[in-house]
């Protein structure tokens, strides 16, 4: 008997047809009624608040107040010259500022 030769093209075509034949099978039409039954049992959807969206809404509401604050701060800074009190800052970190300066000057 002649041995069978594997002919992928032939087999593939046949199997492809068999695959697509499956969609021609008749199915009942009651199943979509079951879908609505289940959906009605589940009830209305619980829509969880989207945090990002809420944050966005919140931020936009504050925008006018923020802008006003920035403008007012800029006006205040322009009117009153901003000079940081270095001595106050220095005293926070160094107890005796003079001693440290002498130490730095003398090679001890």
């Amino acid at each position: 008997m002649k041995s069978l030769e594997y002919r992928p093209g032939v087999l593939k075509n046949i199997l492809l047809q068999a695959y697509h034949e499956k969609e021609k099978l008749q199915v009942g039409d009651q199943w979509h009624l079951n879908v609505m039954g289940t959906v009605r049992r589940l009830g209305p959807l619980q829509v969880k608040p989207d945090l990002l969206m809420q944050f966005g809404q919140f931020v936009w509401r504050l925008t006018p107040a923020t802008c006003l604050l920035i403008i007012m701060s800029a006006a205040v800074l322009l009117k009153f010259d901003f000079t940081p009190d270095y001595n106050v800052l220095l005293s926070l970190f160094i107890a005796d500022a003079e001693e440290i300066s002498l130490v730095q000057l003398l090679p001890l």
Partner: protein, 224 residues
């Protein structure tokens, strides 16, 4: 092919586009908004519009006995996921992805619980195979009277693949989708689909070759 299923909207015409062009009927996105807003009954419109699409997808991927139940599952999942539908893609495309993934979940569960019917092939299938392999031309249709054998051999061969390989074979080789389209439907990476499609094809070829060589050996045995 999947162009019937409205997967790639720019190239193929979506079923829902016809509905949207009808000025008397609301578009899918409008209905989704209504449902999310609390009008549960509006979902029925979406079910009626897209039931044929879902049914065609599920019928191709699953055994006949599981089709109706799985189609229901698809719509229930879609209903639950509606708040996540942003309208950036076509609704039918979004629903198709849910249908494909539901089919994949079915096979994963079936393989895990070993509920795959590993049927053996009978003489009837061997005869069919002989008829097919001895055909002169590659452009053949299933031999008359052997249509069910072709489907059974297909099921037999696919049952020997994993759930992942099966889905890739069906989407890529049988449906003719691109790697990108298949990856999008399954929710996998393109690389994953590419590698799987190559390996799955090799496995399927090996399975079918073994079927033919088994037939060959049994014929030789009969002669001797």
């Amino acid at each position: 092919m999947y162009h019937q299923f409205c997967i790639d909207v720019p190239k193929r015409v979506a079923y829902s586009v016809y509905m949207q062009n009808d000025t008397h009927k609301p578009g899918d996105a409008d209905i989704v908004r209504q449902v999310v807003g609390g009008d549960v009954n509006a979902f029925e419109l979406l079910v009626k519009r897209h039931q044929a699409l879902v049914m065609r997808i599920v019928q191709k991927h699953l055994p006949y006995s599981e089709v109706e139940e799985t189609a229901q599952d698809v719509f229930i999942r879609a209903y639950r996921s509606l708040p996540a539908f942003r309208g950036s893609s076509d609704f039918s495309h979004w629903l198709s992805a849910i249908a494909v993934r539901t089919c994949y979940d079915y096979w994963r569960k079936a393989y895990r619980t070993r509920e795959i019917p590993l049927s053996t092939l009978t003489d009837r299938h061997q005869q069919w195979l002989e008829k097919v392999m001895s055909a002169q031309s590659e452009a053949v249709t299933a031999p008359e009277g052997y249509r069910s054998e072709a489907g059974e051999v297909l099921d037999w061969a696919l049952a020997r693949l994993s759930a992942e390989d099966r889905m890739v074979i069906e989407l890529f080789y049988f449906e003719g989708l691109s790697v990108k389209e298949a990856a999008k439907l399954l929710g996998w990476s393109v690389a994953n689909v590419k590698v799987r499609s190559f390996r799955a094809r090799k496995k399927l070829e090996k399975t079918l070759k073994s079927l033919i060589s088994k037939k060959d050996r049994s014929s030789a045995h009969e002669i001797s």
